[in-house]
Amino acid sequence: MRKTESNKAWLLVLPVFLLVAFSAIIPLMTVVNYSVQDIFGPGEAYWVGTEWFKEMLRSEDLRGAFVRQVIFSATILVIQIPLGIAIALAMPAKGWAASLSLVLVALPLLIPWNVVGTIWQIFARGDIGLGGWFVNDMMGIGYNYTADSLHAWITVVVMDIWHWTPLVVLLCYAGLRAIPDAFYQAAAIDGAGRWKVFRYIQLPKLRGVLLIAVLLRFMDSFMIYTEPFVLTGGGPGTATTFLSQQLVKIALGQFDLGPAAAYSIIYFLIILAASFVFYNIMVRVGRGDRA
C-alpha cells in the first residue's frame, strides 16, 4: 500500500503539545530563565551561567535540609509501612465492624493539611494541649517541642504517622481482601502457621500495593511543607527545616529568585531521579507476578 505523505498530521499532535507546554514546559522554562541570570528589575538582567547552581550545591543550608529530608522520609517509611500492614491485618474483614473501622481509619486523610498542622500545634503544647500536658504532667517528661530539637522532630514524625499511615492501611486492606479464600485454605491444609501465612501468602500478595504505598509516601514526604510549617515553622533553629521550607525561605523570605530557581531545579531533579528509580524497581519486581 502506498502511504500518503502529509505533514498536516502534525496538527493532530498540536493540542497535546500546547497542553504540555502550558502545564509544564513554559513554567519550567521561567524557572530555568531565573536560574541562569541575576535579575534586578525589568531590563536589568545579567547572565551568570551556572553560578547559582554552584552556590546552591555548596550551600550548607541546602545540604542540611537535604540530609534532614532524607532522614525524615526514611523514618516515616520505616514506621508507616509496617504499622499500616499491621493495622490492615488487624481490621475486621466483613460486617458493620469493617465499615466502621474503615471510616475511623480514613478520617485523618480527610483533614486539610494546614488544619492537621494546627491540630498538632495545639495538641502538643505543654500548657493547653492535651498531648503535651499528658507527656509533661502525667509522664513527668520535660517535653517542649518549640525549644527542644529532638522533641520537635518526634512531634513532626508522629504527626505525619497519624496523618498518612491510614493511606497505607487502606491500600493494604484492599490488597488483603483481594486474596482468594483458597490460599488460606491451602495453607491450613499444608499445616502453615500464622507467621507462614503472612510470610508466604499475604506479604507476597501485598507486594503490588506496598510498592505503590512506598512510592506515594516517599514522594509526599519528600515534598512535605504545610504541616511542619504550621507546627514548628522549621524550628527550633533549622531542626525541622526540610527542602521545600528552605526553598520558600530563599524565594519568598529573602527574595533571592536566582538561587531559588537553581534550588528548584535541583530539587526537581532529585525527585525525578528518585521516582525513576522507584518506578523501575516496581516494574522489575512486579514482573512474573501474573497469577
Binding site: 482468594p180 483458597a182 485454605q185 491451602a186 491450613a188 491444609i189 499444608d190 499445616g191 508466604y200 497469577a291
Partner: protein, 362 residues
C-alpha cells in the same frame, strides 16, 4: 489413606434451618472405601463443594459425624486430618521455587531434610516438573501451577485422601486430558483415596471408579459409570448423565398394563404389577436414546411416530420423533437408514425403566 464414612451428616449455612430448602446438604449416610477414586458430580449449587469442605475440615457440619477409618474427625482441623486438597484455581506460593512449594507441607510438619529432599524429588519426577523445579512458581502456566497444587498433596504419602475441587476449570482443553491421565496414573501407583468434584460428566466418568451424583443437596446415586448409565436411580441422573439425556414419558396404570400418557400405547407384563405397587406416585418411564431404534418401515414391535428432525453429528445421528405429547430422541449409528416422514419407534423392554416420584422402581 483412609476409609471415609459419613454418619447422619447434614449441613446448613443458616443458623436455624427449618424448611428442606434451608439445607445445603441433606442428611446422608454412606462410606467411601480406602484407596478408591470417587467423583462427586452435580450441577452448580448442588452441595458438592460443601460436602468436600466438610470432608477436608474447612467447614464444620451442622449435624452428624465424619469418620476416617472409624475415627471421629468431625472436630479436627484440616492439618490434623492430614488431608490434601486441590482447588479450582491453582494455589501456589509465589515467592518460592517449584521444589520449595512441594517441600512446604513437609517442612511445616518438621520432617528431616534428607527425607524432604527424597519425597520432593519423587513428586517432581511423577508430575514431570523437574525441568522447572528451580524456577519461581509465579511465572508458570496454569496447568503447571495446578500440578504443583497436586504435588503438595502427593509428597505426603500418609495423607488420608486427596480432594479435588473442580481442578481442571482453568486448564486448556488439550491439557485437561493429559492432566486427568496423570491423575489416574498417580492413583494407580499410590492408591490414595481420591475425591474429585466436578460438574462435567465426562471428567467424572473417565476419572472415577465410583461416581456420586448429587442433586439439590442430596446424594441421588452412588455407582459405577456403567450403573449410572444403565440404571439411573433418579430421573436427574438419567437426564444429567449421557448426551443427550434419558427420554422420560409420563405414564399411568390401566387395566392390566402401563399406559403412556396421551397415547394408546400400553406396556404389558410385569409393568402392571410394578405400577400397581406405586399407584399413588407420579409415574414415568425412562429410556436412553442409545436403546431406542427407529425403523423407516412398519414392524410388529414398533409404534408409529411423527418425525420431528434429524441431527447428524458425524459419528452418529440424533433422530427426534413425536409420540403423542412426548418428544423422544433416539441415537442411531451413522450408517442407519434415515426415516423420511414415517418413523417407527422400537422399544427395548429390558432397557426401559420405571420411575415413581422421580425415583427408580423397576
Amino acid at each position: 489413606m483412609a476409609r471415609i464414612e459419613f454418619q447422619r451428616l447434614a449441613h446448613s449455612y443458616l443458623a436455624d434451618p427449618v424448611a428442606p430448602a434451608d439445607w445445603a446438604l441433606k442428611e446422608l449416610d454412606f462410606a467411601w472405601e480406602d484407596g478408591g477414586a470417587y467423583a462427586l458430580l452435580g450441577p452448580s449449587g448442588c452441595g458438592k463443594s460443601t460436602l468436600l469442605n466438610i470432608i477436608s475440615g474447612l467447614l464444620r457440619p451442622s449435624q452428624g459425624r465424619v469418620l476416617y477409618d472409624g475415627k471421629d474427625v468431625t472436630g479436627l482441623s484440616p492439618a490434623a486430618r492430614n488431608i490434601a486438597q486441590v482447588f479450582q484455581f491453582p494455589v501456589i506460593y509465589d515467592t518460592m521455587t517449584v521444589a520449595e512449594n512441594l517441600a512446604f507441607p513437609l517442612r511445616n510438619r518438621r520432617m528431616p531434610r534428607a527425607e524432604v529432599r527424597k519425597r520432593v524429588a519423587e513428586a517432581l519426577e511423577m508430575l514431570e516438573l523437574q525441568p522447572v523445579q528451580n524456577r519461581r512458581a509465579a511465572g508458570l502456566t496454569a496447568d503447571q501451577k495446578q500440578k504443583i497444587s497436586m504435588g503438595r498433596g502427593l509428597v505426603r504419602d500418609d495423607v488420608a485422601a486427596i480432594l479435588f475441587d473442580e481442578p481442571l476449570t482453568v486448564i486448556d482443553p488439550h491439557l485437561k486430558w493429559q492432566l486427568r491421565r496423570k491423575l489416574k496414573e498417580v492413583h494407580e501407583r499410590f492408591h490414595h483415596t481420591l475425591v474429585y468434584v466436578t460438574h462435567d460428566q465426562n471428567e467424572a466418568l473417565t476419572f472415577a471408579d465410583k461416581v456420586v451424583v448429587m442433586y439439590e443437596g442430596e446424594v441421588v446415586q452412588l455407582g459405577t459409570p456403567q450403573e449410572l448409565f444403565e440404571r439411573p436411580a433418579h430421573r436427574f441422573v438419567g437426564y444429567f448423565i449421557g448426551s443427550p439425556g434419558m427420554n422420560f414419558m409420563g405414564c399411568h396404570l390401566v387395566e392390566d398394563g402401563l399406559g403412556i400418557d396421551g397415547t394408546e400405547l400400553v406396556l404389558y407384563g410385569h409393568w402392571a404389577e410394578l405400577a400397581r405397587r406405586h399407584a399413588k406416585s407420579r409415574l414415568a418411564i425412562g429410556i436412553r436414546p442409545e436403546f431406542l431404534d427407529i425403523s423407516p418401515t412398519p414392524r410388529d414391535d414398533a409404534v408409529p411416530t411423527r418425525l420431528m428432525g434429524v441431527q447428524d453429528l458425524g459419528n452418529f445421528k440424533l433422530v427426534t420423533v413425536r409420540l403423542g405429547p412426548h418428544e423422544v430422541v433416539a441415537k442411531l449409528p451413522e450408517d442407519a437408514p434415515v426415516p423420511t416422514d414415517e418413523a417407527h419407534l422400537v422399544f427395548q423392554p429390558e432397557w426401559t425403566r420405571l420411575y415413581a416420584d422421580d425415583r427408580l422402581v423397576g
